[in-house]
Symmetry: C2
DNA sequence: CGGGGGATTTACAACGTTAGATACATCGAT
DNA sequence: ATCGATGTATCTAACGTTGTAAATCCCCCG
């Protein structure tokens, strides 16, 4: 049996509360008493029972991060940053995988872990505004990535329209005329895809290029296999793109696989641009040009916002934070003249 | 304030215990009563307070998975499998990142989260046997990956010696004579690296190849950058390998980047073999030959072992489970004749 | 119509902790 | 010596849940 305050108290010859005071750093404990208690704690290897502490205090020291899938490198990288940032607040992070399924996202939002977590960082993909509006759970929540509906939650994201426009403009400025896009979603829920597509279209318009529906490839999910399939379809359709803007890096890497496997040169024949700046893209050959969101900034800001909610209660208007992004041009658009990573 | 059993009870006009019985699926509750209680639960959106429940039951329903870094795709993939498997047991997974640092691994093992977690799945990299032997925490633990010391813990791993030998033999059978290895560790702790190196040496001996220290590259860590650096060093040293066995896929992908960037053809000039079968390797060009451990099997077995420890108490000898692995030959050793992924 | 006995419900205590109130020292100043 | 004032330690009552044991209900048989 694990030792309790009571056991420590008996060993140190003091009351339970005195031990509790020592454990919690209460000021008025005689140095001698404190020393005796600390010795007893060490002797017994005492650890506070968090369940009991939480029951008393109403706090668990645990926050949840809900993401579609840790297999997707972007979310794995985001998760490591969140864990690091949470650690600085003394929080432990628990990870929920929603598989980008609406039903699972609803479960997360509905407060399935109420009482276990103090707060929730949520990166929704499939959720709709009304799902959020119906949320009855009172656990503070910060949304990552896309804004959903008008529900009053703090939100950290990047300006997807601007970022996608810049990416597409980069391709246009390289002289590409038949710029395709991979990653459009048919589902009503693909908010991020919609915004990036809008930026893509804006850039085409600015560059005086005509929009061609045959150059926009839809996908089921955002894995490499989807990108590979979509690229194959584009090539087979005869749309003959000379550049492709992919809505994320894994799609782009899948597309790259298809291109190279078919002997299409990148970037000479087709330039390729991704989104997210995951580590794989830095080491692919050719290395992948991409739009790099400030993942660390996003994670830190989100944790910070949550911390504020937790201390200030529900008070205050929801905050809207736009993290920075920057374009990273690598070999998949510039060719081998670029410096190696 | 969140509703409690008491609130539900009052609304339904029954006692607290009856509500508890309904919540816990106790058999002998009149259908009519059950319905009334369930209605009240729905009305109030009641959620059991896990802290209180855990305090009472001594269980938290949370297990921890401690891995070096989610950024490393192998661990991200393993984590998703663990989360899925744990979910079937009704457990929530909390992830600890140790950064492969001995100090952080010791903290994890010492029971920093005692009382918060019911069990621990631990994938140690830097820990020594004596660290484990000193462990005072009583939380059940299952070791993943490498066996450490003689401490009496359940362990799930693969036969690294055999796997590495098969990988190296595969290269030898392709007619390669100067087979290098990337991923040896100087640190005393790199048990996995040591075993794989042993398998590599066995295979060389069996193939009648002489062992050449200049063909064994040491690395600091197991990221792509380390593989890229190590490969560059190998090429620059004049060791002139015609094949490379990398101790994991990220090292191999880093090495591939260096090779292709320098115009070395893979596999014509240098065949490349990895370890772990991460998704990236399936979509690189050329796709990466690799040794594929049964990650799902490892995760499921580990969770299963933990479940057994939790129900059976500490009883029973520690179990030693060897998961299966299989060789996946792709383009980086076979060339483009292989079927696309 | 009383009693037996299973079905159903309830009362109570306990899990380990901490906040707040209270008691007990100690000590300098009257 | 006595009184506050202050520092230090203890006591008590929760936090929300569930296991145990006991109470009550209800149906059916004799």
């Amino acid at each position: 049996m694990q030792p309790r305050l009571k056991d420590v108290a008996e060993r140190a010859g003091v009351s339970i509360k005195t031990v509790s005071n020592v454990v919690n750093g209460y000021e008025f404990v005689k140095p001698e008493t404190r020393a005796r208690v600390e010795q007893a704690i060490a002797d017994l290897n005492y650890r506070p029972n968090l369940s009991a502490r939480n029951l008393r205090s109403g706090r668990s020291g645990v926050i949840a991060l809900a993401v579609p899938d840790l297999d997707i490198p972007y979310f794995a990288e985001l998760a490591t940053h969140v864990i690091t940032a949470a650690d600085r607040h003394g929080w432990t992070v628990l990870i929920d995988q929603t598989q980008a399924e609406r039903s699972r996202e609803r479960v997360v939002v509905s407060g399935i872990r109420a009482h276990l977590i103090d707060g929730l960082l949520f990166s929704p993909l499939a959720l709709t505004g009304s799902d959020l509006a119906q949320r009855a759970d009172v656990t503070p929540m910060v949304l990552l990535g896309e804004r959903v509906g008008r529900a009053p939650y703090d939100h950290v994201g990047i300006d997807n329209v601007v970022a996608a426009r810049q990416a597409t403009t980069h391709l246009a400025e390289l002289g590409r005329r038949r710029i395709a896009a991979i990653g459009a979603r048919r589902a009503a829920s693909g908010a991020t895809a919609r915004l990036r597509l809008r930026g893509y279209r804006q850039a085409l318009a600015e560059a005086g290029l005509e929009e061609n529906p045959a150059l926009v490839a839809h996908v089921q999910a955002y894995h490499r296999a989807d990108g590979a399939r979509a690229m194959a379809a584009l090539l087979d359709s005869g749309a003959a793109p000379d550049a492709v803007f992919c809505m994320n890096d894994t799609l782009a890497l899948g597309a790259m696989r298809t291109l190279l496997a078919r002997g299409v040169r990148v970037p000479e024949d087709v330039a390729l641009f991704g989104f997210d700046d995951i580590e794989d893209g830095r080491f692919s050959t050719p290395s992948l040009s991409t739009m790099s969101p400030d993942k660390q900034g996003i994670a830190e800001t989100a944790v910070e916002l949550l911390a504020r909610r937790l201390s200030a209660g529900a008070a205050g208007r929801p905050e809207e934070v736009c993290a920075s992004h920057r374009l990273v041009a690598r070999e998949s658009t510039l060719g081998r003249t670029a410096t190696a990573p």
